[in-house]
Symmetry: C2
Subunit: 383 residues, 2 copies
């Protein structure tokens, strides 16, 4: 049977029908009062979802665009940046900083691990002259499914006097992420993740400390210029012609999130991820992130059982059950597969996907007690 795909990748994620139907409406003029009213709601609800009193800027771009929007408005050539790298997307911060001529130092850990706050403290204590201006880090690392303790790390960064720039692409909505309360100076995310909207929009919020660094930036980005977006937010407008249709859909999706309540949305993701992890373990599967406390609520990376290949698992899931799970990236390709539980995902989806994975692994000859996975997920979700 065709045309019944279920996306369990970490983005694009499933989109509610009401959002899709809004996106299918004929575009309206981006300078009309009708669109301005939509933007007013969107900007207000973005602040709610980002749990910040500061403006949230919206870019027509991929999530990487928002990463550029963060660093290209902060860095001058020769600036010192410390990048905390727990995977590909942590490394992307470093590459963007380098593309702007920054001197980048890295703290890098093995795939599946997270940054130890003590190691960060030590590294910063060696920066006697306080030359490190910016520390980049990842909340939920999409390439591994590990999640940093952002709250602790950002408080250490602030104590040192540097600016924290956080990738919340797969964490905002999925995990508690509180920039104002935790002292995250710059936080970015993207529409095709917890926001339940197709790809094409990205978000950034920055606090006063970050704005002070922005003011010293000699060549801020033109397309992503914070000042232009700030002015536009205040006028319920956008600096350039935005992805009108996606924004109309986003408006509906944000209202759905607000109605469910951001804490409940966070809890739903936690409940799903933790239940999935427990079910996978009962199926004799190893997780790339062994400890639950280091695990993302958005994405879970699983090692294939010995003798069974990742492409075979992905192929069978797709062909027999029309479920799409992600391969590993770069050096993790064919070493892990990744199941997303991000965005518009309900309990039924969890039961279906664990059941389908059981069927596939059974067919491929994996040694486990068939039925245990679904039993576990049912019991965990019952709690």
């Amino acid at each position: 049977m065709k045309d019944k795909t279920f996306l369990m990748i970490p983005g694009p994620t499933p989109v509610p029908e009401s959002v899709m139907l809004d996106i299918a409406k004929h575009p309206i003029g981006h300078r009309s009062s009708e669109f301005s009213s939509i933007l007013e709601e969107v900007y207000e609800n973005l602040k709610y979802v980002f749990q910040t009193k500061n403006d949230v800027f919206m870019f027509t771009s991929s999530g990487t665009g928002a990463m550029c929007a963060a660093l290209e408005n902060l860095i001058n050539e020769g600036d010192k940046v410390l990048s905390l790298v727990i995977g590909n997307f942590g490394n992307r911060w470093a590459k963007i900083a380098e593309s702007r001529g920054a001197k980048v130092e890295k703290i890098e850990v093995a795939a599946g691990e997270v940054i130890d706050p003590e190691i960060l403290k030590l590294a910063l204590s060696e920066d006697k002259n306080k030359e490190i201006k910016i520390v980049t880090l990842t909340h939920s690392e999409t390439s591994t499914g590990a999640a940093n303790d952002i709250k602790t790390l950002c408080s250490i960064i602030r104590e040192h006097g540097a600016i924290s720039v956080v990738d919340g692409v797969t964490s905002v909505c999925a995990m508690p992420c509180k920039p104002d309360e935790w002292g995250i100076d710059v936080l970015i995310s993207g529409s095709q993740k917890g926001f339940m909207v197709p790809p094409g929009l990205a978000f950034l919020t920055a606090n006063e400390r970050a704005w002070k660094v922005y003011e010293q930036c000699k060549h801020p980005s033109f397309y992503f210029d914070w000042a232009a977006y700030k002015k536009s937010v205040q006028a319920n407008s956008t600096p350039f012609t935005p992805a009108v249709n996606l924004i109309v859909g986003l408006n509906t999706a944000l209202k759905m999130i607000k109605q469910e309540g951001i804490e409940k949305v966070n809890n739903r993701h936690k409940r799903h991820a933790m239940a999935l992890r427990k079910a996978l373990r009962t199926m004799n599967l190893k997780l790339l992130v062994p400890q639950d406390e280091n695990a993302s609520y958005a994405i879970t990376s699983i090692l294939p059982p010995e003798g069974i290949s990742v492409p075979d698992i992905r192929k069978a899931l797709k062909e027999d059950y029309d479920i799409v799970v992600a391969n590993g990236q770069n050096q993790l390709k064919d070493k892990i597969f990744r199941m997303g539980t991000l965005g518009f995902v309900c309990d039924r989806d969890l039961i279906a996907s664990v059941g389908a994975l059981e069927a596939v692994l059974h067919k491929l000859g994996h040694n486990f007690a068939i039925g245990e996975g679904v039993k576990t997920i049912i019991l965990e979700l019952e709690k």
Copy 2:
């Protein structure tokens, strides 16, 4: 009656139902073979529409993103750039160049006028040491409805040895625009214009001469890096998560353009714009661009009759006929209104909008022979 809006602004433009329905489909994985096949068709058909043998890169961004993608990959701090400015969007090139630390000189003309090739020749002849590295220019200037003779201007720029960077945002599809044949070194455009797709995608093509300048760029853009997009085009992929839904819609729209034939699409736009101009004149209206040979086929700027305000005309068109026309921008605000004939526009639309404008002007007390406009447009379209 609500919900029957007809957009006559220069973008977003009307979108075919088949494209809207494609956009409304659930997003698919951007790394799937299914999406890769779509990209293969899209990249091939973009080359057809851009009439170039070179790759056409596709960005998830506004048209301004593609403008940044042009200059941010070419300019080093201190480079000399000449900007030919015939309106707001010509000026945007200058601002982007300045944001990258270029020394910008401008040739600027009054609203509605175009660049005289002799003036460009003279300016370049004064650049004895060939310091001008890049000349930016606009094909169809969206803010005025004037269109430069790009073919002649680009040949003068090439003769001088500089790189021509052309804004084709409202010209590609609407007007003949032949980068390979005319020697345009960099050409950009956007989805919400002649491409009949909602906003959110932008395009760029660059030739070998431009690539040589790219290779000397010390800090090329990360998000818009040509090298990353070139690699992706060759692999039928994208560097970052793209606006999947819009691309699925674009694929359908490009096939429609190919089926009609790019020359026929150009001619349709010319026929519509010229018929509209003639009809407007018979209605005792003055055009901001008096000469037909300087007029864009995408957008026509009209001066309001004495004693009748632009807001009144726009309001009546919207309220009585649900037709949206654009106001002037910046210093042209309330001085002109702009009617787009760009993209998915048929003869019926022209008759309807001229008729509606007649009705509105009659109601507002304009002195003209009612019926003459529609008569003229019918006779012109008959030809």
